[in-house]
């Protein structure tokens, strides 16, 4: 039994509430306790560092400081939150002048980078493990063909050590295999979905997300699986953005766990692209 500080970030409280519900359900089955970070603030996402590097660090530092008091490792399911938090956390461990600068700003709060920042793949790998995952599954997912889609920011980290290979991560593949899903090989694990351009350059997001969607369908997938709320949103929104290409559902990683553990998903009706087809592929084991 492990307890983690849970940093939901803005997405899991607004656009991807069903991701939060899904994680809470799956984690409680495995005995992972989550304690939501008190009075957490936004990590700055893709916007803050473009405007001012130090502003981005200060936004994270405030959250880290509150979390360090709880002395529990820091779990951030959103890839942007994870990446921004990890960059600041791991950098201030050795960059003491940055640490001092941030602490001067957030005083009386204080952070030193003492915690580990973990994403959902790491938590499931480290605190449950593939053998327990394989043993505890109750439904047969072998008819479900999925492509693992990691997105950009989870492992493409500069100057800090990523948790998996920067260009060809395998960790989520391993989890999906342990769940018994048919995991397809494809070259777009890390291709960009268009990220935050959805509003400022919709055509660009559509172009990039369509490429990923078409590749996934070409590989023979029934669903795309991702841990990232922004990737999920962009791919799932394609028809709403005016795209007319064929689409398949984009599932959160934790939703595949739901399918293997309970045979259904809490967030089924929250998907833009109907995801019922996915559920019908699941059989009692």
């Amino acid at each position: 039994m492990v307890t983690l500080t849970y940093y939901p970030g803005c997405s899991l409280k607004t656009g991807s509430k069903f991701y939060e519900a899904s994680i809470q359900k799956v984690f409680s089955t495995y005995g992972i306790g989550l304690r939501e970070l008190p009075d957490w603030s936004c990590c700055g996402a893709s916007a803050a560092h473009t405007i001012d590097e130090d502003v981005a660090h200060v936004l994270v530092a405030r959250n880290l400081a509150i979390a360090e008091k709880q002395e529990l490792n820091f779990f951030a399911p959103c890839s942007a939150c994870y990446s921004r938090s990890k960059i600041t956390n791991d950098t201030i461990r050795s960059d003491i002048s940055l640490q001092d600068r941030l602490n001067d700003a957030i005083a009386p709060l204080e952070c030193t980078g003492s915690l580990e920042i973990k994403n959902i793949i790491e938590v499931l790998d480290d605190h449950v493990g593939v053998s327990v995952i394989a043993k505890k599954k109750r439904f047969d997912l072998s008819a479900l063909r999925v492509v693992p889609y990691y997105g950009c920011v989870l492992t493409r980290l500069m100057r800090v050590k990523p948790f998996d290979d920067r260009e060809n991560p395998r960790s989520m593949d391993g989890l999906l295999e342990a769940l018994g899903a048919t995991v397809l090989d494809w070259p777009f694990k890390m291709e960009c979905c268009g990220a935050a351009k959805t509003l400022t350059d919709k055509e660009m997001t559509v172009r990039l997300s369509e490429r990923i969607m078409a590749r996934a369908i070409g590989a023979g997938a029934d669903a795309i699986v991702t841990p990232c709320p922004l990737c999920q949103m962009n791919l799932d929104l394609l028809p709403s953005l005016g795209s007319t290409i064929p689409v398949i559902p984009t599932l959160f990683l934790s939703e595949v766990f739901e399918l293997a553990l309970y045979g259904r998903m809490i967030g089924l009706s929250s998907h833009f692209v109907p995801a019922e087809t996915v559920v019908t592929k699941i059989k009692e084991a």
């Binding site: 656009g15 200060v58 405030r62 001067d104 920011v153």
Partner: protein
Amino acid sequence: MDDLTFLKEMERESAEQISACYQCYRCTTGCPALPEMDIVPHRVIRYIMLGERDKVLASRTIWSCLQCYTCSVRCPNDIHIGHVFDTARKIAVRENKALSDVWTFDTLFLDSVRKHGRLYEMEAIMRYKLKKKDLFSDTRMGLDMMRKGRMALLPHNIKDKKGLQRALGRLAQKARET
């Protein structure tokens, strides 16, 4: 002799050793944003070395960049190219050279976080739309998101907004002093 002033300025502001580039084109071959760019990435780097300040700061490329860092992780000379472009954006904005939609939206995003402690997406999007005088181009997306309960109608304010604003204020104060 080429003018190295701009190269030095970019290296100082980005803390990247841009002059290590030997034009292998790896950044360009992997870039997913090429169709939206006017100057391909390895050429931007070359222009920086050649001192083509105006060309770089006015380029569409630095704003089309998705900050996906494919180029950065592939650079054999360990140049964080995404960050170099990000740095060029800051200089361009400082000098009013290229006000872009990306900058407008990022600024509104950060305003919202300053005000509430968390992003109030609806407010940031509506302010952006008003600024652009374009209220209806994303209506379908907005309606679909509301229908599915994926767009919060009300803001969420953190309790210690004052603390957060004080921290950001101190940072700005310090930046003014140095």
